[in-house]
């Protein structure tokens, strides 16, 4: 699965306004709504489920990245938003360090295989130090899209 296929370009937020985890999650859900991928009617429920998920175990997997995710029947295919925080956000991450890059994933309810493939595509890139550094330093939506495209070609080649 390609990152450029799941990340919604209009839901890339190069500079998140929120400083707290809960605000940032809402901001990214709203970005997906603004991009036309989610309905505003589902905002509360999706945000609530994302927060529940974080409370059961942080998706801050360490090294400054978090991948909050939720399954919801509001989507028919996987959609993801990407947000960057300059100051860092406390996600209660496993390594206790702030999170600078967030990939928020909404998967359909009934397709666990696709969800795993999307997570694989995301971690194939996020597990690389170079990618994490370049993503964190990206300053525009265009720069992030380019980076995701490069990551896709490396992933498929590798």
């Amino acid at each position: 699965m390609k990152l450029t296929e799941i990340v919604v370009e209009d839901a890339i937020v190069p500079s998140l306004a929120g400083a707290e985890r809960d605000d940032v999650l809402r901001e990214l859900v709203q970005a997906l709504i603004a991009a036309g991928k989610l309905s505003a009617d589902d905002e509360e429920q999706i945000v609530t489920r994302l927060l529940d998920r974080e409370r059961r175990g942080s998706t801050g997997f360490g090294r400054g990245v978090a991948v909050p995710h939720v399954k919801h029947d509001a989507v028919e295919s996987i959609v993801a938003a990407v947000g960057l925080s300059q100051k860092g956000v406390d996600f209660a991450a496993m390594d206790k360090k702030p999170v600078y890059s967030i990939v928020l994933l909404v998967s359909p309810d009934d397709r666990p295989e696709e969800h795993l493939q999307a997570m694989e595509a995301i971690f194939a890139s996020l597990s690389k130090e170079d990618f994490r550094r370049e993503l964190r330093q990206a300053e525009s939506r265009e720069a992030i899209v380019t980076l995701l495209g490069e990551a896709d070609s490396q992933h498929l080649a590798g």
């Binding site: 666990p112 969800h115 795993l116 694989e120 597990s127």
Partner: protein
Amino acid sequence: MSERCTIEVTIINTLGLHARPAMEFADIAGGYQSSVSVKKDGIDPIDGKSIMHIMLLAATKGTALEITAEGPDAEACCAALKALVEAGFNED
């Protein structure tokens, strides 16, 4: 004395090896001194103590995995991981 053990397991829970079970797997593996690697057909072995790496397996229900532990407590580590996977990570 260093031990080495290799076991084969199959993912049986409906949702597969998604983030929560991956976390549990890495947690248990991390509790042992032994190194843990996990191999799926066609891809290079990954570090079984890293959640990010475990997610690279994209191990759906029915996927066979080969787990290798190496170190002073390898046997115990294999047994614990086998039990976890075979219990379907207590899901379903």
